[in-house]
Amino acid sequence: MTAAQGAPAQSPILEALAVSKSFEKDDRVTEAVRDVTLGIREGELVCLVGPSGCGKTTLLRMFAGLERPSHGDVRLRGRTIAGPGADRGMIFQSFALFPWRSARRNIEFGLEVRRVPKEERLRISDRYIDLVGLKGFEHAHPRELSGGMQQRVGLARALANDPAVMLMDEPFGSLDAQTRNMMQLELLRIWQSTRKTVVFVTHSVDESVFLADRVVVLTARPASVKSVVEVGLPRPRDRASAEFAAIRHRVLQDLTEEVLKGMAQQDRPGVV
């Protein structure tokens, strides 16, 4: 079930090539990511799991162009990613909605900055409002919406730009368990209807096995690829099935090893 690490058959849409990232602060160097090589195929849903604070978010932020790698290269369709751009949509754990804008005007933000004419904006935002199930809430401001609804706005806002890939940073991490499960189903429905490439960071093994085509387990800090697990179960997946449990167990085993390593590390704070 394990694919050759970071070497998919088809040429990848998004790739990290020998990527490392260190942060320097007050003469202390913290290594967040070490020598990650990973390819993500077009239309694939990949989950990155790893111990808390391992650097999985840093990896995602490099794909987004919000961080530059210290070494190595991140590429979209073979071209080096030099900065953030509308071709990669980002979904934040804290939603990061503009509080002074209504749901619709949040969704239209990317269209607005690309100077899409008003009628066109309206048409596109209507489509994604429908798709994510926000009908009737177009005029609500973020503070008037529940967490799940806010993240629907976040999803629609990123999708409205029609990006090549969706980068999701623990998008359901701050939702309650029921809303979270429902948003997972919603994400799968939206993913299946848009066929977007999705990179999804989570620390929930269950979530990763439920959603992903492939689960990439990252090591404790500095993050490198520990293992890649091909899930290969048909959707909709049954969390109670034996196959699900088996894969879940595999991922969990790899992750637990790293969590323990990470805890041992904490005695000597992440300084290299």
């Binding site: 919000l66 804290s94 503009f98 008037e144 529940s146 799940g148 730009n161």
Partner: protein, 284 residues
Amino acid sequence: MRAQGLGRVEMASQTPSGRAAAMARTLFRRTRRSWDKVLLAVLGLLAFLIVWQVTSDLADEPALPTPSKVFEALFDSFDESKTTLLDPWPMQQHVGQSLWRILYGAAVAIVCAVPVGLVMGFSRRTEAFLIGPLELIRPIPPIAWLSFAIAIFATGADVAFIIFLGIFFPVFINTMDGVKKVDRMLVEAAQTLGARRHQVFYKVILPATLPQTMTGVRVGVGVGWMTIVAAEMIGVKDGGLGWYIWTHGQLSQYDQMFAGMLMLGIVSLVISRCLIALERWLQR
């Protein structure tokens, strides 16, 4: 399955009648609460008038006139035929004069303070460079500049300059602080949605900073009123509410003096309400 996650807003509107009932409930509750507040506010004002009346009756002192005398003086002050040689202006002209000075000073102050605050909030270097002189000038009470202002500026502009000083600093400090507090995540969200530098500035930094800038304006205009009254009392001769209060006080016309003070309270209350309304409107 989906309805479950639709959250708070949806709950009330599941059926048309449920929605109507919920709306009626909120409306009723809100109305009752606001009526309670209005009633209490009216009672508070009444109590204030009674205390005032009783105190001035007991004191029997010309410098503390009764409310009825003050209200009478206030009504008369608007009547142009009742003006005297010593104060040839009706009240509306004095109010207009002070308001004009405030608006003038506030407009110039906001136009200067917002860009300075934005740039200093953005750039640590600019902040480090400019913070010294600004922090040195800030604690000087604006009124201390009065003689300077009278010597340098034309009549009218002199008071406006004092007001400018009073409003500039709160607006500048609040704007700078507002920029620093803008959520980094919002800037990053905008960038990943394709916004360029100037778009991040106009579409994220500015609107995110606006509430704090408006707080600065409100505080500044409050300082402006204190300043203008002092300026009109001490050095500036051509009318205004401060001049009105001071002159009638000097003439022992205490009824008029209190009428002027009351008018000042009313005008600045109205302005502060207007600014709050403006702030809400800008943040829609």
